[in-house]
């Protein structure tokens, strides 16, 4: 492929080379056969053959979340594209940069209800940052360049490029644009200096200041700057589910995660503060609950976000700062370093309040001698991995326990579906992360319901030798559904019991992996130690922990209630 007069398929591949793509997650099919033929004849990136297109996108997403690079997926037309939609929507909700290449039926067949035809651009439009249908071979290179640029700049997101089959067979001269300018797309990077000054002065004069950090800090690689700022100013800080790891969780100033299953101290401090600095967060329903209740305690809110539409969407913002969080935080840090910070004496009362809330020890749980408590499994996982693993999770109770009981001190170590809440992401996320970091420990915390939504990927893990450790918290229930049914539907457990479960040990073994079943609390730590031992370093271990069926996630803010209206474990 040294000549520049090449096929559309080869152009696609050359574009991926130009973008220095290391992995493409995909699944072949009729409309992408030309592209796959070109994949076959190159070795600059590795193609990871998944077992379902949904997992291709999730794995690319997991790769992106763990590395910060653009994830790439390749799927065929029709069902290939529709299978990918869940993955795309998941990435879109969490602002993950992806480029998804989908095959399309030949241009002359579009609209004819051809075999494996669907309106991919139409179907994906509401869940992509942008998408393209390439109708001319001459446009492939510039479209790919735009796709990578749009996906990774501003507020990131997935971009889909739909390429009809005939275009991939034609030939033309290839040249990859060095840079691209879109007159209609100019994300704002630098925050307004006047607003930043105003924000700092408000913060310095606050009596009950609070910092609320979100996924934007992780995505914007701004953890170091946030940490520097928060430590210098000495204020308490909380984080959303997506922002965990953006500020070291073991730091004294960290109050834990906030929101529906946030800590008592984080939620109370968020509610009672007088000046709030929100950084790359979006005040969503799972985070602040009822917005009217949230604002019933008057507070001045400063919001830093790269996306203007995130500002004043659910909550009216007093000081909006549109910009890349890292650049705004750098400016804030500069200003703060010139300030002769005078400790405001009245703030002592604020810290006293916080310490009192903290003393409730809201994450305390009763361990049991006979039944394995799921929280205990996560704590043991933390201990055995020394808090330094990449943890992916699926969606449900296990996800919340992982977020609560595995303190993350580094960004991009906690990988889960926050916005869309997609069950089944855990294993493919772990695949993406393990490929990116072959020598790191990767654990997928999941449940017996979630894991079955992408269980076929155990086969992919075998093919590519991915030594993921699967922590299956098996309570024989869709735990979070069961919890809501217990609290709000008078224990009518409608369809939330997972009947006819497979023998996960045998299942793992049939895929060529190692299976373990752990039924006693005293076996938890030894089993984890074995799974993470040097001996099993190269192997995927599926650990089926049989846990307490009735355990619930606390604290909890019931749907539609306010931050200070938590139910704690002690109240029940």
């Amino acid at each position: 492929m040294s000549s520049n007069y090449i096929s559309g398929a080869e152009i696609v591949i050359r574009c991926l080379h130009e973008e220095k793509v290391k992995f493409v997650f995909g699944y072949p099919g009729g409309a992408v056969l030309n592209i796959y033929d070109a994949v076959f004849q190159q070795n600059k990136f590795k193609h990871i053959l998944v077992r379902h297109e949904q997992a291709a996108v999730h794995a690319a997403d997991g790769y992106s979340r763990s590395t910060g690079k653009v994830g790439v997926a390749l799927v065929t037309s029709g069902p290939g594209a529709t299978n990918a939609v869940t993955g795309i929507a998941t990435a879109y909700m969490d602002s993950i940069p992806l480029v998804i290449i989908s095959g399309q039926v030949p241009t002359f067949a579009i609209g004819q209800d051809a075999f494996q035809e669907c309106d991919t651009v139409g179907i994906t439009r509401p869940c992509v940052k942008h998408n393209f249908l390439v109708k001319d071979i001459k446009d492939i290179a510039s479209t790919m360049k735009k796709a990578f640029y749009v996906a990774s700049s501003g507020r990131p997101g997935p971009v889909l490029v739909d390429i009809p089959k005939d275009i991939t067979a034609e030939k033309c001269d290839f040249s990859y644009p060095k840079s691209i300018h879109l007159r209609s797309y100019n994300p704002i990077i630098k925050g307004h200096s006047g607003q930043i000054k105003k924000a700092l002065s408000l913060l310095l004069n606050a009596k009950r200041p609070m910092v609320y950090s979100g996924g934007g800090v992780v995505l914007g690689n701004a953890s170091a700057q946030l940490t520097k700022f928060v430590r210098a100013i000495g204020y308490p800080v909380t984080s959303t589910l997506m922002g965990l790891g953006g500020f070291p969780a073991s730091d004294k100033q960290f109050l834990g995660m906030l929101g529906m299953h946030g800590t008592y101290e984080a939620n109370m401090a968020m509610q009672e503060c007088d000046v709030l600095l929100a950084v790359g967060a979006r005040f969503d329903d799972r985070v602040i609950g009822n917005p009217e209740h949230f604002l019933s305690k008057p507070k001045t809110i400063i919001h830093i976000d790269i996306d203007p539409s995130s500002i004043s969407k659910r909550v009216k913002i007093d000081i909006p700062i549109v910009g890349d969080v890292i650049s705004v935080l750098i400016e804030l840090n500069d200003l703060l370093s010139k300030e002769k910070t005078k400790q405001n004496a009245s703030r002592k009362d604020w810290f006293k309040d916080i310490n009192q809330w903290r003393s409730m020890n809201c994450l305390n749980f009763k361990n049991d001698k006979k039944l394995i408590k799921p929280q205990f499994v996560i704590q043991s996982l933390y201990k055995v991995t020394k808090g330094d693993a990449f943890i992916t999770s699926d969606v449900g109770q296990h996800q919340m326990w992982a977020a609560q009981y595995y303190p993350f001190n580094k960004p991009r170590r906690w990988i889960n579906s926050g916005g869309l809440g997609t069950m089944g992401v855990g294993l493919p996320y772990a695949m993406g992360a393990q490929l990116a970091f072959p020598d790191e420990k990767i654990a997928c915390v999941t449940g017996e319901a979630s894991i079955q939504m992408c269980i076929q990927e155990l086969s992919t893990c075998k093919q590519f030798h991915l030594p993921i450790k699967i922590i299956n918290l098996n309570n024989r229930y869709m735990g979070m559904v069961r919890q809501w049914q217990e609290f709000f539907y008078e224990n009518r457990y409608a369809e939330s019991y997972m009947d006819a479960l497979p023998d996960f040990v045998k299942l793992a073994e049939s895929y060529g992996h190692i299976g373990m079943k752990i039924e006693k609390p005293s076996d938890v730590e030894p089993a984890l130690k074995e799974a993470f031992s040097q001996k099993l370093k190269e192997r995927l271990v599926f650990m089926d922990f049989i846990t307490d069926q009735k355990e619930n996630v606390f604290p909890m803010i019931p749907n539609g209630k306010g931050l200070s209206e938590m139910i704690t474990a002690e109240e029940l």
Binding site: V121, G122, R125, P126, K129, H130, L133, V150, L182, R183, S184, Y185, D307, P308, S309, I311, S312, K313, K316
Partner: protein, 163 residues
């Protein structure tokens, strides 16, 4: 409150559905939407008439700006502007209605653009409310057919929406 939003966007296939999809996906009202290429064929100009609280209108503007194909957005209600809509109405013009219809057409400064033994086809331009007023003013039984373009708008004086 009713707002008229003007925007310039790349004249590409699917651009219209990005805008209409945004309104339906986020539950925003849409009273009318008109679109046509500008003097620069690579750009389309769209006029959207919508309604909502100040917060909703602010979100609509932000969400429109977020669409990759959208080059510029202007809320005409932020300043002085002119609004025009074209309506073509076919009304009965038999012996009973003929004089009345001619008179009403003149009052509303419309033009009769087609005549038959029993009907007039009348063209009227003006703000949407003027067109509504015309419809209110004539006998409903006389209306055979109406077609409206939806509102277009432009800022007054130095207020210019251009790339």
């Amino acid at each position: 409150m009713r707002h008229i939003i003007s925007l310039l966007m790349e004249n590409e296939s699917g651009a219209l559905s990005r805008v209409s999809g945004l309104f339906s996906a986020r539950g925003y009202n849409i009273e009318s939407l008109t679109v046509a290429p500008t003097e620069d064929a690579t750009l389309s100009r769209m006029t959207i008439v919508t309604s909502g609280s100040d917060e909703i209108i602010e979100q609509i503007i932000k969400q429109l700006n977020k669409l990759i194909d959208v080059v510029k957005v202007l809320d005409l209600n932020d300043g002085r502007f002119i609004e025009r809509e074209l309506m073509i109405v076919k009304v009965k013009a038999n012996a009973q209605y003929r004089d009345e219809m001619k008179r009403m057409c003149d009052i509303f400064r419309g033009r009769i653009i087609d005549v038959s033994d029993n009907s007039f086809t009348i063209e009227i331009t003006g703000s949407s409310s003027k067109l509504d007023a015309y419809i209110e003013s004539i006998d409903k039984a006389a209306i055979l057919e109406t077609v409206r373009t939806g509102a277009s708008g432009i800022g007054r004086g130095e207020r210019i929406l251009k790339v």
